[in-house]
Amino acid sequence: MNLDLLLSNLLNPPVLFFFLGMVAVFVGSDLDVPQPLPKFFSLYLLLSIGFKGGVELNHSGIGAQILWTMGGAIFMALLVPLYAFWILRRKLDVPNAAAIAATYGSVSAVTFIAATSFLSELDIPYGGHMVAAMALMESPAIIVGVALSRLGAGAQEGEKAHFDTKELLRDAFFNGSVLVLIGSLIIGLLTGEEGKKALNPFVSDIFKGMLCLFLLDMGLVSARRLNGLKKLGTFPIGFSMALPLFNAVLGLLVANWLGLGKGDALLFCVLSASASYIAVPAAMRLAIPKANPGIYVTMALALTFPFNVLLGLPIYLSIINRFWS
């Protein structure tokens, strides 16, 4: 893999602030980004990325190619948890296997955003519709994961199932992050150039800075989670590095088959490789109480996220560079 890519990824401010956060935990600093500041940053990032995507969609229009990409995104979101579950069952019980599968079927918005800023730094263009693809990939995995746990567990929870379902669908499709993302996307789509003029300084100019603040906190949070690793054992640890890689490759195959450009291909690949640590855990906590969040959150947050942001991006892009003409 290309070393320049690795460096140009590691040496941009957001990633370095992520490091700073991790360092703060390792040296035992009292540095802290208290709630609700992280919620503010993620709200801002979702709103901005969604709005900008909508505006670009307003320019590009929605063609067949874009619809195919959406289809491919949903396909990945449904497929990944299935084989992830199948693998995980070798070592873990049904609830945990299902919860982890859902986590990896869904996506991490920040990983996606890190990828976009990585691309814009290398002046590689990408389409606003990829944001829509991300939004579409958040929810399905939740449904699949819960379905898997139900099937696996048999009907013992049957009686509560109905109520759950209603709750579940809501958590899956109307949870905060999905709603802000899609809502902002639609608003961008509706207001187009007009809206962009009004909001650009907010959603674009200060974007990188807000991303730095958020990644600083991500560094703190994921480094704190690392302490939970010992309890995990080697399988989950290996899994949380290997699966993203596998998902990424699969994602690239699909992207290539869909004929996506370099930029869109990287984003598609990153969406497949990333794991959710916000929307999905909250849903799993309620839907699969028997699953231990100490496992699925730690894997997604302390291992997969840093792996994707630090090593994944350059690796995936160098693969693309090799196989895309």
Partner: protein, 97 residues
């Protein structure tokens, strides 16, 4: 002042909505909740510092008549079983106003 039983429940923030629903179904008319509580228990450290509320607890305080305690506890127990957390019962006097 009137003798009452004081119920204190600490469990997942995400689960509090259900706890309230259950209590109201039992006819509890009033309760108070402190939303941000961190703590430690069998399920380990609930640091509350995540981006989700997955690792955060809430504290609920309510009062009831001595005769109702059993009923309320039985109603809440399944949640605590499923989710973890604690429920404490103690004596107190309610200042009528």
């Amino acid at each position: 002042m009137q003798n009452v039983k004081k119920l204190e429940i600490i469990t997942d923030t995400l689960e509090m909505k259900e706890v309230c629903a259950v209590l109201e179904a039992q006819g509890v008319s009033g309760y108070s909740i402190v939303r941000d509580v961190v703590g430690k228990g069998e399920r380990g450290w609930q640091s509350g510092d995540e981006l989700t509320d997955v690792f955060k607890n809430s504290y609920l305080l309510t009062t009831c008549d001595a005769s109702e305690v059993e009923r309320l506890i039985e109603a809440v127990r399944p949640i605590l079983k499923k989710r973890g957390g604690i429920c404490l019962v103690s004596d107190a006097q309610w200042v009528i106003h």
